[in-house]
Amino acid sequence: MTIKGKAYIVGAYEHPLRKAPNHSVAQLHAEVAKGALEDAGLTKNDIDGYFCAGDAPGANVWSMANYMNLNQLRHVDSTDMGGCSYLVHVAHAAEAIAAGKCNVALITLAGRPNSEGSSGTQVRDRGVNLPDVPYEMPHSPVTVNLYAMCAMRHMYEYGTTSEQLAWVKVAASHHAQHNPSAMLKNVVTVEEVVNSPMISDPLHRLDCCVVSDGGGAVIVARPEIAKSLKRPGVKIIGTGETTKHQMGGKVDLSYTGAAWTGPRAFEQAGVKPGDIKYASIYDSFTITVVLQIEDLGFCKKGEGGKFVSDGNLISGTGKLPFNTDGGGLCNNHPANRGGMTKIIEAVRQLRGESHPKVQVPNCNLALAHGTGGAIGHRHGSATLIMERE
């Protein structure tokens, strides 16, 4: 079964807040659900499929289904793949719709790590029974050093430089200046990135994404419903999902799961990397973008540093306009999970609703790619290819 053309993204909404100390997480989930329904022109009672991940209170569907009083559910899915969960959810929603299991699927993400004081240098408790914990946690792996080790290896194997990584942030900041909701709106230079404080070698503070409250939601519906609505059609044409890990001790940090999900999504969609007009690329750190751009096939392995340099990711000047909302590096990384905002900006681009200064002309084909967990030990990867109809 292929999902190509079997489902459409009909609603998308990003919460405007980046700090929400007086909102409950449940309230944020409900507010983004309401926003996405209004965007689509649907109502709560139209929802018969609900998807959420580990950021939802209780980490499965029933608490939020209860809070929102969703009573028509025929299909539920609380797959948790960290930050890329929501890209996986879109794929699963398309599969469920194609299989006749639901008609209108709601996917929500929300959280408050900014208000709760979360940081990428904190050692996080990871719970009981995890087989890797006794062999890893004594060494204090944290989000930033797990990615930093990948950056260090990439520099060693391919000669990638800190200045090349900095270009990823520079491009994101060029886009964020046009986003009134962005957490960081100032345009930065390569020099400012490499001169920002070193957090974990070789990643500087400005190589790291923001920590923000907020959230987002999308609604996926079957074609007949999509065509009855007034919004531009965003057709799902290719998906891929996987997880990559330490392979029994044969650790290889030179590539990510995108090397597997990208080709599958492109094959299903029947398009090539060179056809993509706009790409949302997960940007927890600058190195994350470089690795995924290589793995998705936008350039050869090892040439990502060169590819992202000199503004090649900046809309209007570069060959691959990316993260035109400012991405996780400048705009928003709600709940420490950037997958939802990646989908939302791709939908804006395909609808022609991105800010005019960053809107890609005639954007008819877009890709969104996400990573969850940490590429330095275990991560999820998900690719989504969408077409404007």
Partner: protein, 133 residues
Amino acid sequence: MATPYQERKVRDPAVNPGDQEYFDAAAEGKLMLKKCGDCGEVHHYPRALCPFCFSDKVSWVQAKGTGEIYTYSVTRRGGPVPYCIAYVTLDEGVKMMTNIVDTDLDTIKIGQRVKVVFKKSENGTSVPMFAPA
């Protein structure tokens, strides 16, 4: 510039059934790996089933305790002291997550030869780390 190694509080390994022997051996200064009696592959972290062929004929073997740094990062913010996390490729072929210790953290390099040393966690458990060979 130099970033001298400083002792830091090491989290206790939260062991699950099957893990204790690894740390008991560590207390005697031995670094252990699991080896499969069927396919012959060595793996890490240790498991009850071989991650390559799913055989349950896995047994402990002592590693030489030497290897080279595959990658590393010195984390300078967030903790009370800077520390170096790394993956070391053991001479037996597997890579393990660890810390590089007992050296100027600014001199650490990928490819550097290292040997195992054992540092105590807060409850006195021996944890394998690596220092320049």
